[in-house]
Every structure is written in structure tokens, then in C-alpha cells.
Amino acid sequence: MSEQAHHTSHSPLPYLLTLIALLILTGVTVGAAYVDFGSSTVNLIIAMLIATLKASLVALIFMHLRHDKPINSIIFLSSLIFLGILLGFCMIDLDSRERVYPTGLRQVDVPAAAAPAAAPPAAAPAKH
């Protein structure tokens, strides 16, 4: 809880530059969504890289991690590492489960009960 010792008496200009950078990156994200980079995976990776760049700017400058005690960065990064472990193992599971123990997860069709009475059974996948 001793963040305040570190960032006194410096110019607020870096904050303004950070804001401008964040706004530009937001524009880039939206623009990139309209460009087809070959596959949806590539598009997703690009969007996530830009988001991570923005998140790093917020964490380092707005949240003062750059000038803060290292322990705070360690706490912050540890939560991201554990999140990565969760995501990683879930992905491995999703990828390999069908081979080990077939569940037919991808074939499951949600019953029409979700939309009572009026719903025609298994509506045709009409893309918008």
C-alpha cells in the first residue's frame, strides 16, 4: 500500500501521450478487424497483441508499475501467469479429449426448448 512514495513531482505530459497512444491503438484495433489477414486466428492474435500493448501502457504508466515496487509487478504478473496456465491446460484438454474419450461435444445441438413453441427445429444457419 505504499505506492505513493514513488511518483511525486513529475510532469503530467507522459499521461497525455499515453492517452493519445491508447486512442490511436483503439483505432488500429477497429481498423484491423475489417482487414482479413488470412485466417480468423491471425486476426484474433493481432487483436490480442494490440490489446496487450494497450494493457501494458495502462499498467506501466497509469497504474505506475514502472515506478512502483517490483513486488507489485510480481503480484500482477503472477495472476496473468496462473491465467495462462488455466487457459493452456483447458486448450490442451479441448484439443485432445475427442481422441481419448469421445464426447461428441462439437456435434451437440441445443434442443429447440430454448425458444418455446415458435422455434422451428434446428434453425438453418443463416449468416447475417
Binding site: L19, L22, A33, M48, A51, L86, L94, A119, A123, K127
Partner: protein, 188 residues
């Protein structure tokens, strides 16, 4: 404070992982579902939150340099952006209620057409943006509270920890939205 922020990340993280996995299983439902979201409104909300983060950090800066009126002004601007965010969110939500995109038995597939797993997409959408919106609401209450205290002259360069910590909380709310926006609104 950072430990609390770590728990927040892990709580939202569970939702992000679930969202990502189901996107991998039902990509066509995800693409169909995201067409019902308004990219322009999402982008405007992103801009509002980024600006509010900026005014928040300026408030912390002015609090740490004994400039009371500027602290109060910047906290007020932060509140303004936060309210603007929630107003847009309200219009987005009411539009979706009207379209029958609510989760569970209120989800009306017949009205929108497309893959039935869209119900899951909107389940994630409402859970993630709902919890995020709730955080914005809590942030508004907290910022109002320190605004009153700043106006009363409670803070100085010797003591401004509440402004600093609520600032950190507010930046985290912004940070989560930075990921929510491309994931929900910009699926391809």
C-alpha cells in the same frame, strides 16, 4: 491493493477462458452472435473509458501535488465519462432485450435466426459486460466518495492513498474492457 486486483483478474479470467474455449468449439455461432453487437457503440465506450482513466490519473497527479480544485475537477470528469459509458451500455442492453437476446428461456432464437449456440455467446456477453458494468457502478460510488473528501480538503501530497488506490481500481476496470471490446465486438 495489488493482491485484490490479482483476484479481480482471475475472476474475469475464468470467464475469458470459458469464452475463448467455446469460441473454439462453436466459431460460427460466435461470428453470427457478434453481428448483433454495435461496433461503433463499443468503440465509443472504449474511448470513454480510456479518457476516464486519463482524467483519473490526472486527479491522482494533482492530489499528489496539492492542487485541490484540479483534483476535484478531474474526478468529476472521470465520473462524467463513467456515466456516459453506462448510458451507452443501457441503450445497448435495452436494444438486446428488445431483440430477445437474453440468456436462458428468454433467448428467442426464432427471432434472430442462425446457429442455436448463439445463446451461449450472449450468455457470456451478458455475464462479462454485466459484471464489468457492475464494477463501473462501484467505481462511480467510490470516485464520488473521494471527490467529496477531496473537496473537503482531506488529501495532500503527504496523504492521498485513497485517491491512488481507487485510481488503481479504476484503471483495472479500464484494462478489462480493453480485452472485452475486441473479443466481444470484433470477432472475425
Amino acid at each position: 491493493m495489488w493482491l485484490f486486483l490479482a483476484t479481480e483478474i482471475l475472476m474475469f479470467g475464468g470467464l475469458f477462458v470459458g469464452f475463448g474455449l467455446m469460441q473454439g468449439v462453436y466459431p460460427e455461432a460466435w461470428v453470427a452472435g457478434h453481428h448483433h453487437l454495435d461496433r461503433v457503440l463499443g468503440a465509443v465506450n472504449t474511448v470513454f473509458l480510456l479518457c476516464s482513466s486519463f482524467t483519473m490519473v490526472m486527479a491522482v497527479h494533482y492530489a499528489s501535488t496539492d492542487q485541490k480544485s484540479k483534483t476535484v475537477l478531474n474526478l468529476g470528469l472521470t465520473l462524467g465519462f463513467a456515466f456516459a459509458f453506462l448510458v451507452i451500455k443501457y441503450f445497448e442492453y435495452s436494444h438486446k432485450f428488445h431483440d430477445g437476446l437474453l440468456p436462458g428461456r428468454y433467448f428467442n432464437l426464432a427471432a434472430i435466426g442462425g446457429p442455436p449456440q448463439q445463446a451461449m455467446f450472449f450468455g457470456f456477453y451478458f455475464a462479462m459486460t454485466g459484471i464489468h458494468g457492475f464494477h463501473v457502478l462501484i467505481g462511480i460510488i467510490l470516485i464520488s466518495w473521494i471527490m467529496v473528501r477531496a473537496n473537503r480538503g482531506d488529501f495532500s501530497s503527504a496523504y492521498y492513498t485513497p485517491v491512488d488506490l481507487i485510481g488503481l481500481y479504476w484503471h483495472l476496470v479500464d484494462l478489462i474492457w480493453i480485452y472485452l471490446f475486441p473479443l466481444l465486438y470484433l470477432v472475425s
